[in-house]
Structure formats: C-alpha cells, structure tokens
C-alpha cells in the first residue's frame, strides 16, 4: 500500500506540513510528523516541506509494454461529417508519432464514413480503419466501445486520442475502463518526455487555477481526451498516401442496449468556436441589455457573441455563449472582451486568440496582462462609437 514516508534525518520538525494538510490529519509527535487516518495522498505536505523530508512511496511495478506501438486517433464522425477536432488530433498525433518513430493511425466509425478515409490520410494518418455500416448510425456508446476495444487489442497502439466532445467524453471512459488503462480528461497539451518516452498529458486542474501534467507509466495505450480548438489542425496534403482497411461488422454480435429515439439538431447562427471575431461580454455590462450592443458590434464584424460565466448564471445570455473552463474554448483571430475581468477560468477558454482587445474601466483588471490592446475605458462610451465608425466605414 502506498504511503507518505517521513525521513527523520531530514525533518527539522518545523510543522509546515501540519499547516499544509487540507484534511488536518498530520500532527507532530516527538518532533516528527505523524500522518493519521484520513490521508488521501494528496501530496500537499510533500509540496510544503522545505527540507524534502516527505515522500510518497509505493510498490514498484515492472511491466512489459514494448508490444505497444503507434498513435491511434479516433476520428469522430457524425451526421455526415468529421468533427474538426479529429484533424487537430491528427496534427498533434503526427508530432508525437514522429518523436517516437512510430506510425500514426486513425479509426472512423459510422454510416457513410468510408468516403472520409482519404481525407484522414491527407491529414497525416498512415493507416485508416473504417467501420462503415448503416447499422452504426447514429452513435451509440455500446457498439462503438466494443469495436474500439477489439481494435486496440489487435493493433496494440501506444497512444489513443479522442476529442473532448460530448461524444468523446462519454465513449473514451467506457473504452478505458474496459481496457483497465488510465485516461486523462480534457488535455490542452501533449508531448513526449525525451527520457522516458512517456506521453506527458497536461490539463487544467483545481478549477483552472493551475495546470497538471499527468503520465500513465504502467498501462497501454496511454489514453487522453483533448480539448477542441487548443491545437492547430493538421495541414492537408493531397499527395499523402496511406492504407485504408475496411472492416465489416456483425450487428448481432455487438452489444446495443441504449436506443436513440429522437435527435433535434441545434444550429447556431455563427458558431462561436468557428468565428473569426468574437465580441464577448462580462459582468461589466451591468445587465442583459448590454448584450444587444455587443450583438450589433458582432454582426458588423461578421462575428459571434461570447460571454463570461456569471452573465450566463445571471440568465443574461444562453449557456451556449459561455467561454472558459466550463464553457467553450475559442481561438478567433480577434477576441474583444468588454467588461470582463480576466479570471483564470475565463482566460483558459480564450487565451489562444491571436489578438485580444480588452475594454475595462479598471486599469488593474487581470485581463490587461493578456491583452494585445488594452483599452481603459467605459465600454458604454467606446463600443457605441466603434459601432458608428464601422457603419461610417461601410457607408463609404
């Protein structure tokens, strides 16, 4: 069993670990910390110890994982199209595969998906596994899990990536639990440790206040879901060639317990995540009417309207507009933040924007630390003038 161990040679009995324990289960006994019942191995005490006297010890495991090779990408196919996060995964997957000197594979499942196989090759896949059958429409987690688990057992990939979409986040944990392997949710960074050759998976943790890097040293494949719009898409190169492997399925042998009775698509006017320009509003708007002004500006710029979380919580605007850790991640050419303070959780969703323009009355607002152009002013004075100017310009 794993435990926190105290090195009595190093410990000076300073008691910082006692203070650091969020559960209050450490006490000093004869000058040395004693870790009591209720320890969750959260490592706060290890982090707090200035003498490096505390360490987490666990049984060593020896496992042979050498049979696993290659990076496999789940290309999410739905309603006749491939979700663009799949191209982002192929872009990153190519990098990882080259670093490891291993192949890049893709798998695609669904009715009519065969005609996308070449596209996946143009985007960098060397081999594409295709499961095209009318029975596989629409997506159901049971048969898709069974197909993917069987493929992994046969192909033995080293790394297996999913988009952190609503489908990916339902499917990947089911696959990971059946394979009994680790899965890191909602990654924003992936790279290979040059020494251990392990996949380093980085994601926001503790509500986005900090980032955590996670590895899966003992199991294969190393699995992750990856946030949409944080990594650049793979370049399309139509001269690329690859292998397409078409697989038949036998519906009678696949589990299928949950029935889809109905589906109502929602089409957004200008999809937030795809817009080149986003005009976003925060609590500084002071009320729901403020969004009317931002809508006008967004329309003139051919863009979409974004929002901070508290404006959504207040009911000023629908959740689908929320940008940030618990909303969407966006990477527009221009992000105009109006009356947004720039909390880490908001930044987590828009930091990747090419240009950030912030309008805020408070010169100390954290958003200014990240803005390409920071405008210290009342948004109600600046935005209407900007709208006038844009209209004038258009009239010319």
């Amino acid at each position: 069993m794993a435990e926190i161990r105290v090195d009595p040679e190093r410990c000076t009995g300073c008691g910082l670990c006692v203070q650091a324990c969020p559960y209050g289960v450490i006490e000093l006994v004869e000058g040395l910390p004693r870790i009591g019942e209720g320890c969750t191995l959260c490592r706060s005490c290890i982090e707090a110890c200035p003498e490096n006297a505390l360490s987490l010890v666990e049984a060593r495991r020896e496992v042979d994982l050498s049979a696993y090779r290659g990076v496999l990408v789940y290309a999410e196919y739905r309603r006749g199209r491939v979700h663009p996060v799949s191209y982002e995964l192929l872009g990153k997957g190519r990098e990882l595969a080259e670093e490891l000197g291993e192949p890049l594979y893709a798998v695609i499942i669904g009715d009519g998906c065969r005609r996308w196989a070449e596209e996946l090759i143009y985007r960098g896949a060397e081999r594409v596994y295709v499961y095209d059958d009318p029975w596989l429409d629409p997506f159901r987690v049971d048969p898709y899990t069974a197909i993917l688990v069987e493929l992994v057992e046969e192909l033995k990939p080293n790394i297996f990536l999913f988009g952190a979409t609503s489908i990916g986040r339902s499917l990947a944990p089911r696959v990971a639990a059946r394979l009994k392997v680790g899965l890191t949710a909602d990654c924003t960074g992936l790279d290979i440790d040059p020494e251990t050759r392990l996949l380093r998976q980085t994601r926001p943790a503790f509500g986005g206040n900090v980032m955590a890097t996670i590895i899966s040293p003992y199991t294969r494949p190393q699995m992750a879901t990856v946030r949409y719009k944080v990594m650049p898409e793979a370049e399309r190169d139509t001269s690329r060639r690859g292998e397409i492997i078409e697989r038949r399925i036998d519906p009678s042998s696949l589990p299928d317990r949950v029935r889809v009775l109905e589906f109502q698509p929602v089409e957004e006017e200008v999809s937030l995540v795809e817009a080149d320009v986003i005009v976003s509003g925060g609590m500084g708007l002071g009320g729901p009417e403020g969004f009317k002004l931002l809508e006008e500006l967004a329309k003139l710029l051919g863009g979409a309207v974004g929002a901070s979380r508290p404006t959504v919580d207040e009911g000023w605007i629908d959740y689908s507009h929320q940008v940030g850790l618990s909303g969407r991640t966006v990477r527009p050419k221009v992000y105009i933040a109006c009356g947004i303070s720039g909390a880490v959780q908001h930044l987590a969703g828009m930091r990747g924007s090419e240009v950030i323009i912030a309008i805020n009355t408070d010169p100390k607002a954290p958003i200014f630390d990240f803005a390409t152009l920071g405008v210290v002013a009342d948004l109600y004075e600046v935005v209407p003038r900007l709208i006038e100017k844009l209209k004038e310009r258009r009239g010319r």
């Binding site: 650091a20 959260c42 392997v181 900090v210 589906f263 152009l373 920071g374």
Partner: protein, 265 residues
Amino acid sequence: MERGLNIIVCIKQVPETVEVEIDPETGRLMREKYPGILNPFDEHAVEEALRLRERYGGYVRVLTMGPPMAEKALRDAIAMGCDEAWLATDRAFAGADTLATSYTLSLCIRKMEPYDLIICGLKTTDGDTGQVGPELAEHLGIPHICYVSQILEVSEGRIRVRRRLDDGVETLEAPLPALITVTKEINQPRLPTLKGKLRAKRAEIKTLTASDLGGEPSLYGLEGSPTRVIRVFHPEPPRGGEIIEGEPDELAERILRKLEEVGVI
C-alpha cells in the same frame, strides 16, 4: 412502478473553493483548507433522485468514497431528503484516480444490490473529469447515458431521457439498471429543511472498508491507479501588450485600426 425505484446517488466532497495558489518564492502549492462541501453537480443528482422518488415511490441511497470527514457531504444529502448513506473509507483507497475510484465504487454498489438506477453528477469541481460515472457503469456492466438534462419517464424497466450533445438534443431509452450523469440544467436543488437537518445529525452512516469489499487489493487507491500526476504549475506568464487611455472617440479609432491591421475588416 409497483415497488418504486431503488436509486443510488454517487456523491463527492470537494473543497469549498478551488483557489490554489503557488507560493511565488518556493514554487510550492498552497491549497485552501477543507471544510469540504457537497460537489455542486452532485446536488442536482441528489435532487433528481428525490424527484423520482416523489414521482414513482422508492428509496434513495447516497454513496461516497473518501476520507472519514466526507461523512459531512453524506449528511448534507440526508438533510436534503435521502434515505440512507454509505461511506467507503480506508487508507487503501487513498490516492485513487478515476479508474481506481470507479472500481472501488463498483464493489460498494455490488454490496448495495439490488438497485434500478445510479445517478452521478456531470463532473466534480476538483477532479473535473466526468469519467467516474461512465467508468463505474463499465465496471458494473450496465449501460450509461451522460449529460442528461431531463428525465421523461421511467416505466416497465426502462428509462427515457433527454440529453444535450454539442450539436443537438437527443432522446434516449435504456433498460434498467442503468447509470446516468446529470447536468445543472436538469433541476434546481432544494434546500435542506430543519427536519432534514435534524435527521441528518442522527442518521447512521454505513461504512465499508477494503476488507468489507473484498476486491483485489492492488486495484485500490494509488496502487490501482494507472495515472500519476508528475507536475503542477501556473498556466502561463502574462503576455500583455499596449495599454491605452484617453477620449472615447480616439480609443474607438485605435480599436478600428487594430481590426484593420489584423485584416478582419
């Protein structure tokens, strides 16, 4: 439903704030102290279970795996109206990632059989993965549906629900027993009543330890967790640009020029 619904709600105690600071001098993590609260998403899970009980009759049990102090979250759920509380606690469970957590919970649930429905929150505010629900369903061999925003009906051993996906709203039907994870849209959680609070104070908490569960010891806690956190750090240093002040008209002009420069107008 003749005998009503037998529901288990999985809940977690999470830190009240998720403010985590890194000491600028030492680069060490400074975490807020507990007292923990009931994970906000799980309040919706508890609420939905209570509503189902009001609609169909039945029994609602809450379950958590955590340190002994997680008992408080269980009592909060009892105060809202749950019938019975179960706490899985043991040093061996410490340091669990989602795979080890869901494995441990699955063994607890086998001890709690029979059941019709398991409800989980969409995700926790600390772990923030949303993986425990679907992984738990897999360990139990039952179907799962994530992102449920409305329960339409439970009848004849089946549950019919609506859920919100990125591209639309789906209506689904699953045979029971099943596991669902619920979003905040599904309901408005009730506040505990005074009577509920009194009941919570006195309620007996059923405790399960590793030896009660009898599972494979190497699959619990840190040992049973395939993932390891190797580094925690601050997101990214600021990369601020130009800050301007002045007359609104001049400021609007500067924004316009910036937009031209980038080529979006």
